[in-house]
Symmetry: D2
Subunit: 274 residues, 4 copies
């Protein structure tokens, strides 16, 4: 079974590289499931229903979110009918939408997709992500309720992400971080069989600061005051994420980074390119 997870889509360059590249990659790599983090898809802040549907149309099976989940206020409404839009599971009870969803892959497998937000250096302050995900894993365990489990751990600190990876090792198919908008190269299979990568990076223009035009963030670091708004950079986007192959138990057998387009060095899963 073949999974592709793509990191935070940032603005138009991110949406464009997904729309242009993903359909062909689905075919070429015979992907069974594609999950993408869409929290910055709408102008860098949140997601609209139209963009959500565009991401599905481009070949995504599920869209995860993060601290920017509801920056576009319409998301508080349409998320209720968007069955494959998943916001952090540790938002308070009563928050619109869902924190986990069982999605059917192309090969018929049932894949549990969970989104969760870390606590270290993150706002808003949500409840313990470890226990929140553990409850989802208990309700729908790998190998029983789910044929595969993907956890998007949306967090700043590498310590919390790595700690969670080990905590979930053997109980998830993939634990992948998002939020820093910077891909890490620590992709690997943990001892218990869980594929892991501290951050999937972003789908966006890397000649930027986190996908946003450079001038305003640099101004703020220097002047300690805003001079204007943050706006997405406009150069060519990079598709960034992680490719994972699973065995029949839903554990990882191969893992590789994906970086296609834009100004980062290219990376493809060689084991699917042949």
């Amino acid at each position: 079974m073949r999974l592709l997870f793509l990191g935070d889509v940032v603005g138009r360059p991110g949406r464009a590289v997904v729309a242009e590249r993903l359909p062909a990659l689905r075919e070429r790599w015979s992907l069974d499931l594609v999950v993408i983090n869409g929290e910055n898809a709408a102008g860098g802040f949140g997601i609209t229903e139209a963009i959500y549907e565009d991401l599905l149309a481009a070949g995504c099976d599920a869209v995860t979110l993060g601290n920017h989940s509801f920056d576009q206020r319409e998301a508080l409404v349409f998320i209720e009918r968007a069955e494959r839009l998943i916001r952090p599971v540790n938002f308070p009870k009563g928050t619109p939408g869902r924190g986990a969803a069982l999605v059917e892959a192309r090969n018929g497998a049932r894949v549990l997709v969970v989104n969760v937000m870390g606590q270290v250096f993150m706002a808003p302050a949500l409840d313990d992500p470890f226990r929140a995900v553990e409850a989802e894993l208990a309700a729908c365990p790998l190998g029983e309720g789910a044929d595969a489990v993907i956890v998007d751990f949306h967090a700043e600190a590498t310590s919390e992400k790595q700690g969670f990876g080990h905590f979930a090792d053997g109980r998830a198919s993939l634990v992948v971080g998002t939020h820093t908008h910077t891909p890490t190269s620590d992709h690997r299979i943990l001892p218990g069989g869980t594929a892991y990568m501290s951050d999937a990076g972003m789908c966006g223009d890397y000649d930027s600061v986190l996908g946003m035009k450079k001038d305003e963030p640099v101004h703020r670091f220097l002047r300690k005051l805003p001079s204007g708004r943050f706006e997405p950079a406009e150069g060519e986007g990079t598709l960034s994420g992680i490719a994972v192959e699973l065995d029949g138990r839903g554990l990882a057998t191969r893992v590789a980074p994906v970086r296609i387009g834009g100004c980062l060095s290219e990376a493809r899963p060689e084991f699917w390119e042949i």
Copy 2:
């Protein structure tokens, strides 16, 4: 001119992989200068004089630090005589040691090495890193006082690191982040000619949490209380960092990640391997 920068050495596995691998790599790759971040070399916390000298003996030309600079109290004393040990330049005036040093490379080039600590999510709270480095660059500009300039930007947030990279673009040979202990794969040459990588990763055992044994950090995330001390993991270490080739002006012409040994996927600068 050929540079190698290696990320935070964590405990014995980090020191061991440096001692075992670096001497041969210096030869094989004809390195002109090697810089390493040593802030976690002594049991995960700080550095001792003996370890500093071991790192030099293994082939490092300069050792940078970070928030853990003085965890070993002896560093407050020996740093004064350790001419190639460099702590963050934005520590207050009067702090022992130096924040920048002009180091002679094997090829005779004068290389300015600067260490600085970010402000976002970092403790202690130091003065503005952008202006602190700018003062060093003004005092010893690339192409005038220095033939090459390396800035180790020790920080948590990718936004601050990327913002600084663009700020220094064209005025440094290499801006490389440290502190997250996780290598990023956004290594590239910025438009102005500065080699950039958000984090060099660590030299240590990656089957861990930031190089430390997993149990204690996972316990703290779950229980919100310590149960013991943090101790370095004991598995095989990975050498992690970035390789950069410079032109006669001190700007980058090639850049590649380095990951050798341990449980991460291997990466070598192909352009030097031939």
Copy 3:
């Protein structure tokens, strides 16, 4: 019904002023219940069983805690048998001890005492304090299971404390903050009848930094490095807290600050002094 709540006891000066002053005040003011925050009673860090018992012997009916609850590791054990020692209710399930207790006052009233930790600027990161306390209030409501309810909201930010005060207004007899070690003068009765004070201050030596000797904290602010340990100041302590009179429904009819001894201006509840 007459309540006295006293803020964080810091070290020997804090314990001494409690031991010397409280017994007489209990008599003089005919107090029905005394609650004290003891998180810094043992050398500034945590609490021991001997100190807990001394506080009870001096006339305290319950002892609350905070982020320093378990700085003395023995507290993880003895808290299980210390029925009137109350740690933050929003520590994870499985944490030793209790987050709320029903204590019998001298007049026979049943008083629910709850301790909770805020999330803003606080470590460790605990679950939502508002919902955690709400669950306790639902299980033992004022006027039903409890004749009075005292919430010690242990937190840094005045916004969170005030927000909680309004949230609980009419459902608690007293919401009082602790943790900043500095008494506020915003004591009042909220519109719904809950007595409120953003911080009770500390029982300790105010010629200090938060009850600790001045030199080390000032050194750290200036040097950004430790030079030694934090140790409690040794001057005369001030007893600091809030006096509340309740009506038959458990709502507040009078409130006054208490500051006795040491270097702060004296304050006493005049309505009990006559």
Copy 4:
């Protein structure tokens, strides 16, 4: 010499209580100098030129600021001509306005007024406040360049404020905190003669969260999401601050809290009321 310092003016209730009360108090108490923190005067966020002038017209001699200094963008411009408007001195070089000003009191005395922002839990991250103020004190020392020195230390953490108080003790007439919008009752004269109070409180409606209507902040604590904007509360404001009497050397001889109007307990300097 008689000083009055008033804390953060929040919105219309804050401006109203100043306009209504201050002119009479200036007379009644024969005040020589009045300083007020105006960072929240304009709808809770920043200050306009019209409001600045209204504050002067009401009897303020200088207006200090804080993290909200430039929330109203016009402040970046008019601050240059507003000679008695003082923003934190540790903003970067090149920031419009000034961080200290020598103001003439009614009795002819020259009073150095300094505003500075703390580093703990504060954004933006500014340079070391201790050294920034020390430079001002060195340039215009108490008893030489200045007959009195007032430092408004705008900060969250009581530790940093108290640490600074001791650091400046004997070198300032008054060190008073602002920013928490909650008055403390730790007003006193430090051993070296400096009047000190951790926070002056706000001039605003205390039936609120920090002067803002309660509903939105409580919603955010519960839901972890905004539901609307923060708006100043509209009830009666309280004038809150500290009264200080100085001797001929500019050191404090008497100190008292001031709380007049609104829902806090009243406090007046008895030594001036006779």
